[in-house]
């Protein structure tokens, strides 16, 4: 039964990815990719990784779909002209077909080699789960993934938040969108009502996920993604205007989480080691960092969608 469920899910994953990439028209490719994201969330649930299923659901359904559909809307002019059809089928001439065939062959060989390597891999000598479990007492939290994320590998998370900030700064340097502004749909009163109903609940759920991160799957990343999705919904309901270049307060919000994390790391440096929390205050420090991260991640991820998403500004 289980293998049947996993087998079917893997087939659905592969097939939807293949159809998404090989589909002739762009709108179908984007929609099939959103379907692929949903299937990935189910795959993570089957791989008993609830944290990742939560993150994939929050980001796949909330952000990636909206980002891609918005980009698609900008590519197709509102005048109903057909989408720029660049046929994904291999070109008719022989050279083109030979090129496509050879690339497919190389990709196939790569897949075969990797698959062979998967089967040949010896059992791991260092059992990570047991190591994490052994040190859970000193981690300050009860949930292993959060312990790894914020305590044992806190350094990676610190740099990872910096990477998110850099992506946002990259977006800011690009300045206003030069492309056609997406034709804003007519103001939809029902959508405004839905946004007013759902957004408070999303914020409450984000708070719950933040708090739950200490002892069960949840945490700053999923909570931040949920807050960003709430901002996207508000923007789609035309209750939240697109952001121009961020003012002082928004800049503080964007960088705040990272600065708090950096501050805690610097303070701990005084005790001689990077990011090793004293066991007594570990729980409190992690919650402080996660709270700051939730707000900042929510603003950063929302900024990725909202910055310059409005009508074309006169540069």
């Amino acid at each position: 039964m289980n293998l049947l469920l996993d087998g079917l899910l893997v087939l659905a994953l592969l097939w939807s990815a293949w159809r998404a990439l090989a589909s002739p028209d762009l709108a179908r490719a984007v929609v099939l990719f959103i379907v692929f994201g949903l299937l990935m969330a189910l795959a993570w649930a089957r791989l008993n990784a609830p944290d990742i299923a939560l993150a994939e659901a929050a980001i796949g359904a909330g952000l990636t779909g909206a980002l891609l559909l918005d980009a698609l809307g900008r590519l197709q002019p509102g005048t109903g002209a057909p989408a720029p059809e660049s046929p994904a089928q291999p070109p008719a001439n022989r050279a083109g077909r030979r090129w496509t065939g050879s690339v497919a062959l190389v990709a196939g060989l790569l897949a075969a080699a990797l698959a062979y390597a998967l089967f040949q891999l010896p059992a791991p000598t260092v059992r990570l789960p047991e190591q994490v479990a052994a040190n859970m007492a000193a981690s300050g939290v009860d949930h292993p993934v959060t312990a790894v994320l914020l305590n044992f590998r806190g350094y990676d998370t610190l740099l990872e938040v910096a990477v998110l900030l850099i992506a946002l700064i990259g977006l800011l340097t690009l300045g206003p969108a030069a492309g056609r502004p997406a034709a804003p749909g007519p103001a939809n009163p029902l959508l405004k009502a839905l946004a007013r109903l759902l957004v408070p609940l999303m914020i409450l759920s984000a708070g719950y996920l933040l708090w739950a991160g200490a002892h069960r799957p949840g945490g700053a990343f999923q909570a931040g993604a949920l807050l960003a999705a709430a901002a996207v919904l508000l923007h789609l309901a035309q209750l939240l205007p697109a952001w121009a270049s961020p003012g002082r307060l928004l800049r503080l919000g964007l960088a705040g989480g990272f600065l708090i994390f950096l501050g805690v790391a610097a303070a701990l440096l005084a005790e001689g080691a990077l990011l090793t929390y004293p066991p007594a205050q570990a729980g409190g420090l992690i919650l402080l960092i996660e709270a700051g991260l939730t707000v900042s991640l929510g603003l950063i991820l929302a900024g990725l969608f909202l910055l310059f998403a409005g009508a074309e500004e006169r540069p």
């Binding site: 749909g185 007519p186 939809n188 029902l190 959508l191 009502a193 839905l194 759902l198 609940l201």
Partner: protein, 102 residues
């Protein structure tokens, strides 16, 4: 007793999911498919949630489950409205029996 009732509800929920999917595959135009879609959403999901809520080990877990249902209702109603409104805006005519089936 609770077990049997829960199993019954889960089966009914799965039945409505099937109805929604078959409706999506078979119905001729966007508007009819929206109807089928919302059946899968509110009744399929609703009965599944009810079936599982009976088995929840604590009241809080049962309430969280029951919270999912109205959320899905509100979301699917609004999205169906937005899509139908946009379809009408693009001049999509509802299907007429005498038309050829697409």
């Amino acid at each position: 007793m609770l077990e049997a009732l829960s199993a019954l509800l889960l089966l009914a929920g799965a039945g409505f999911y099937l109805a929604g999917t078959v409706g999506l595959l078979r119905f001729p135009d966007v508007y009819a498919r929206l109807h089928a879609l919302t059946k899968a959403d509110n009744l399929g999901l609703g009965l599944t949630v009810l079936g599982l809520a009976l088995q929840a080990d604590s009241l809080a877990a049962a309430l969280k489950l029951l919270l999912i249902w109205p959320l899905a209702l509100a979301a699917s109603a609004t999205v169906s409205h937005a899509i139908a409104r946009r379809a009408a805006g693009l001049g999509l005519k509802p299907w007429r029996p005498e038309e050829k089936r697409p």
